[in-house]
């Protein structure tokens, strides 16, 4: 705290990320590309900042949270049914890219050792980039999203094998095949253990534990994060990647009824740390020898950008998936991974390659990540374009795969009631009886029990909750809450979207404010209750002598 270096670094990183992403919006540049450019500005361009240990940790936290989110979104069943194609595609692509990359590098007059490193660096795609974009599009749950996640997890396992082999080779006392084999066994054994732990906890321990604190969002949040990082720690200790640890932690929580709320809470936190990750990625890029290698860099990038999706499309279409799904999955692998930089740096550290190769890989990385980000975000228009030009005929994929998209059940013309106190509950019940579709929202799971209508657990003050409640398609928003600020925000939001709102004005002083915000109707319990009181008094014969 004496010099607050971490705060200073973080401040510059966040400020740069904010400025670049705001500037990028009109040009519809994907946010992660903006972050990388912010990092390029802070690092290679101005030499202003370097990545410290603390920032590195923050980046890792971002990756962990991202994969935790993915795990929360999916569940073991959803992963199982894309398992086979994921393994086939994941392994197939590794083989193809490694081989093709090696051949191409040799053709570009690199030495065999350099070609080996380049090929390996090109082979792996970036889990973080793809998952972040899929999450942004909301497509993690779509079929192609699940296949993509499966593929990346498989590749993660291959990475672990590669790293373990490398570590074994790099040791002073050359371990030999047995030593390396033992390490591999440890890694895979560890993963099996974590998987078993996740499954067991999910069935027996977690439901009761979390039910105890479910009504307190902060404790629930803290506990789920602790669970995530304990798994991450365990994974690291067992020589597995932190991605796998976080993912398993997320999966074990995916079955619980509060996983939506947890996801909504983890999301902003993840966005914060992931921004740090991408900026620091940009800062660490090495371009000293970029000038001489721009052409090979471009060629290799094209290989990744076109070649990888090509082979993927082929494999997935063979597996029987529809053309559109195959296409959308294939464009997700058109980039290299952040691991490629680490791998190249390791090679340079071991004196096996020059730092110029690092620059080359940097170029390929930047180009492929940036372009693939566009490709993924605009996959649908791209698909239409390719289809119209007949580029996809060669894959002979099955047409008509609309059935493979998940059913996006959405409410429309419904009444959203926020706040399941006595007033809210009575309204929910009565309106449901009248045949209306009602969605009951509350942040306390206990208050959502025993209701005859669909419910949503969440804090309605948050925009994401209202979006999930389908505010734009609703017919009316009712708030029975006893909280002034929340009622103000709800009224404001609903009226901004043109949705009528009826809100509980439990205090006379609050009425002008609510009317000024445009509330269509006020639930004024007090005045009306007073009338009731009067009636009761009369009934008791107050007005007889």
């Amino acid at each position: 705290m004496s010099d607050a270096t971490f705060l200073r670094e973080l401040g510059f990183i966040i400020l740069a990320a904010a400025i670049f992403s705001v500037a990028a919006r009109p040009a519809r540049i994907p946010s992660l590309v903006a972050y990388i450019f912010a990092g390029l500005f802070l690092g290679p361009v101005t030499g202003f900042l370097t990545v410290s240990e603390a920032v590195h940790l923050a980046s890792e936290v971002g990756i962990a949270l991202l994969l935790f989110l993915v795990g929360l979104e999916l569940s073991l069943e959803k992963i199982k049914d894309v398992g086979k194609v994921a393994v086939a595609a994941g392994l197939g692509q590794v083989v193809f890219t490694a081989a093709g990359g090696f051949v191409l590098s040799m053709a570009l007059s690199f030495s065999p050792m350099e070609s080996l490193f380049i090929a390996t660096a090109l082979t792996f795609s970036s889990t973080v980039v793809v998952v972040k974009l899929l999450d942004q599009k909301g497509d993690l749950d779509a079929l192609y999203g699940r296949i993509a996640v499966g593929i990346f997890l498989v590749q993660d396992l291959v990475v672990i094998v590669v790293l373990t082999v490398l570590a074994g080779l790099g040791r002073q006392e050359a371990q030999g095949a047995v030593g390396v084999g033992a390490n591999l066994a440890l890694a895979f054994g560890g993963m099996a253990l974590l998987l078993a732990l996740a499954a067991a906890a999910s069935r027996w321990v977690l439901p009761r534990l979390l039910a105890w604190v479910a009504h307190s969002p902060e404790i629930l949040f803290t506990w789920s994060l602790t669970w995530c990082f304990l798994f991450v720690l365990g994974a690291e200790k067992m020589q597995l990647s932190l991605e796998i640890g976080a993912f398993l932690a997320g999966i074990s929580l995916a079955q619980l009824p509060y996983n939506h709320e947890m996801r909504r809470r983890v999301h902003p936190l993840m966005n914060f740390f992931i921004a740090v990750f991408f900026v620091s990625l940009g800062i660490q890029m090495e371009f000293s020898a970029a000038r001489e290698y721009w052409l090979p860099g471009l060629i290799l990038s094209l290989f990744v950008l076109v070649g990888n999706p090509f082979i993927f499309m082929w494999i997935i279409a063979r597996a029987g998936f529809g053309e559109r799904t195959s296409f959308r999955t294939s464009v997700t692998v058109a980039q290299i991974s952040e691991f490629s930089f680490i791998f190249a740096a390791m090679g340079m550290g071991a004196g096996l390659i020059q730092d110029s190769i690092l620059s080359l890989i940097g170029i390929v990385g930047l180009v492929t990540i940036a372009v693939s980000a566009y490709m993924i975000l605009y996959a649908d228009p791209l698909y239409e374009y390719c289809r119209r030009w007949g580029l996809l005929k060669m894959f002979r994929a099955r047409k008509g795969d609309e059935a493979e998209e998940p059913e996006r059940a959405s409410l429309s013309g419904h009444v959203i009631i926020v706040g399941m106190n006595s007033l809210g509950r009575r309204l929910a019940r009565e309106l449901t009886e009248r045949g209306e579709t009602v969605l009951a929202v509350d942040s306390d799971p206990r208050k959502l029990a025993d209701l005859p209508c669909p419910t949503l657990l969440g804090n309605a003050e948050h925009a994401s909750v209202l979006d999930e409640a389908g505010l734009d398609q609703a017919r009316l928003l009712v708030s029975a809450l006893h909280i002034e600020e929340a009622n103000n925000i709800l009224t404001h939001r609903a009226r901004a979207r043109g949705i009528p709102v009826s809100v509980h004005a439990f205090e006379v002083s609050h009425v002008p404010e609510l009317l000024a915000l445009g509330a269509n109707h006020l639930l004024v319990a007090r005045d009306l209750g007073a009338e009731r009181l009067l009636e009761a008094v009369q009934k008791h014969g107050a007005f007889q002598p």
Binding site: L7, W223, T226, F229, N421, H462, L528, H540
Partner: protein, 521 residues
């Protein structure tokens, strides 16, 4: 990563224990951190980073909440009571510091540390009791917000004290300048930024955080402590509806860092020696003994009656998370020793933990006995076969009008002198006092009345009259089904206000509530 996992585990444990005991979380988070430090598993570098980041968000959040609109009509009372409590406690704290042999500067820090109450703890308590929007609740909220702002503004004073009066004055001037910048941002810059980035949650979050870091950078440039910049950044975002948007996006990020803050803080402490321990307890005792009477005094001068005044005093008898901020700042600048900081931390821990035990109706009634208030005089002639109305304010107005039209005798019980004088002028008999006071109820002739009508907000307040009523029917207002049950069990007849509102709503709905932005009502 290991350190982070450990810190999170400690935080989870702290939360678990506090939830189990149903007490405020902050003390237990600190204790969790203390356990960590005893186990020696977290490196200082990481802890410092966590502490700094957590501190930033804590103060930023406090600035974000600083919206005077929430206090509504109690603003003057809040300023009066808040300043009064602040000055008296600061003076006592300073005196205590000097008595304990601290240097003048260290005593200044102690004075600042004791003078504010904890916004986090008290607001949570008031929310649970559903009293945040009552007049005294708003007053207390105003007090808390005022004290938060005062501490932030006065931290530079404590920091610059050793550099002489000029430095202090310059510091205050610069702080005022930063406040002005914050105000300008609030009016013009922030609305512009929000309009640009609102649609996209991710960009909005980063812009808000960028804004925060920018302010902290400016604050650093002009030689002020970082926390001042963070607070004013929050203030710039405190206007409606921006603050709601920010809170929505930032909630989980800040929860994360704030939990880490308190745990990391605990991990920085070490087990106190007996002397330090006693000093901490002494300071805690000072706060808990001085605050209630002082606050009650000022609250009554501001027009509140005795019971809410005393209760507010109990509510505010603790030191704040900002006391920890002050202490940390002092320790970082080398102006106070780690022992002194531990004293402050201990006092905060103890007072925060004990507040739920102090701020109870039971203790308030007990203290009320010592109150030298004017007793109501017996009514002459004693009322008979009348209607007793508990609560003569706006809640009872409609009823009063009808009853006086019917020329039926009503006796109103209320403790607000303004209402009492208004009613007396209208020729209605009154008993001035607390509706939960048996003596007052006796004077109102509850046992001889035809019926009792209660419009008071909290069902618990109807308890005494239900106990005393005997055969007299008691009609009591209730909002909740649970409250209605409570009243019914004790022999009263609840009038469910929520039902009334629901009926009216359904009538409006059936009549055809407006379509999307079609006709208004």
């Amino acid at each position: 990563m290991t350190a982070l996992a450990f810190l999170l585990v400690a935080a989870s444990l702290g939360h678990a224990v506090s939830r189990w005991l149903n007490l405020p979380a902050i003390p237990f988070l600190i204790l969790g951190g203390l356990l960590l430090s005893l186990a020696g598993v977290t490196p200082a570098g990481f802890l410092e980073d966590a502490l700094v980041l957590g501190l930033t968000f804590l103060v930023f959040l406090a600035g974000l909440e600083l919206n005077p609109g929430r206090v509504k009509r109690q603003r003057r009372a809040a300023v009066f009571v808040g300043l009064g409590q602040f000055l008296v406690l600061a003076a006592s704290g300073f005196g205590a510091g000097m008595l304990l042999g601290f240097s003048t500067q260290a005593s200044l820090y102690v004075a600042l540390a004791v003078s504010a109450s904890s916004t986090l703890v008290v607001v949570r308590l008031l929310q649970r009791r559903r009293q945040l929007f009552e007049p005294f609740g708003r007053m207390v909220l105003g007090v808390l917000l005022l004290q938060d702002a005062l501490i932030i503004v006065l931290i530079p004073v404590a920091v610059l004290f050793s550099q002489g009066t000029t430095a202090v004055l310059v510091g205050l001037l610069v702080t005022a300048g930063l406040a002005l910048l914050s105000w300008v941002s609030l009016r013009w810059i922030v609305p512009f930024l929000v309009a640009k980035t609102q649609g996209d949650g991710e960009t909005f979050l980063l812009s808000v955080l960028g804004f925060l870091f920018l302010f902290m950078g400016v604050s650093h440039l002009v030689g002020l402590p970082l926390v001042v910049g963070a607070f004013f950044a929050g203030m710039a975002l405190s206007a409606f509806p921006v603050n709601g948007l920010v809170r929505g996006q930032l909630a989980s990020v800040s929860d994360f860092f704030v939990a880490l803050f308190f745990t990391a803080l605990g991990a920085f402490l070490s087990l106190p020696s007996a002397g330090v321990f006693l000093q901490g307890l002494g300071l805690a005792l000072l706060v808990m003994v001085v605050t209630p009477p002082v606050v009650a005094f000022f609250a009554e001068r501001a027009g509140f009656s005795a019971r809410p005044g005393i209760f507010s005093g109990f509510l505010l008898s603790q030191t704040s998370e900002f006391s920890l901020v002050v202490g940390l700042q002092g320790m970082v600048m080398g102006h106070i020793s780690q022992d002194t900081f531990t004293v402050i931390a201990l006092a905060t821990l103890v007072t925060m933990t004990l507040t739920p035990f102090l701020a109870t109706d039971y203790l308030t009634w007990k203290l009320l006995d010592f109150h030298p208030g004017t007793r109501a005089t017996d009514l002459d002639p004693p009322p008979d076969d009348h209607i007793v109305l508990l609560g003569g304010g706006s809640n009872g107005q409609a009823l009063l009008e009808e009853l006086s039209l019917a020329a039926h005798e009503v006796v109103v019980v209320d403790d607000d002198p303004v209402i009492i004088s208004f009613l007396e002028e209208s020729g209605i008999r009154t008993v001035r006092g607390d509706v939960t006071d048996f003596e007052v109820l006796r004077m109102a002739g509850v046992s001889r009345a035809r019926m009792v009508v209660s419009t008071v907000r909290r069902p618990e307040d109807v308890g005494p009259v239900l106990a005393m009523a005997g055969g007299t029917p008691v009609l009591a207002r209730a909002f909740n089904v649970e409250d209605a049950e409570w009243i019914r069990e004790r022999g009263g007849e609840p009038i469910l206000f929520s039902d009334a509102a629901a009926d009216e709503f359904l009538a409006w709905f059936d009549a055809g509530c407006p379509a999307e932005d079609g006709d208004g009502t």
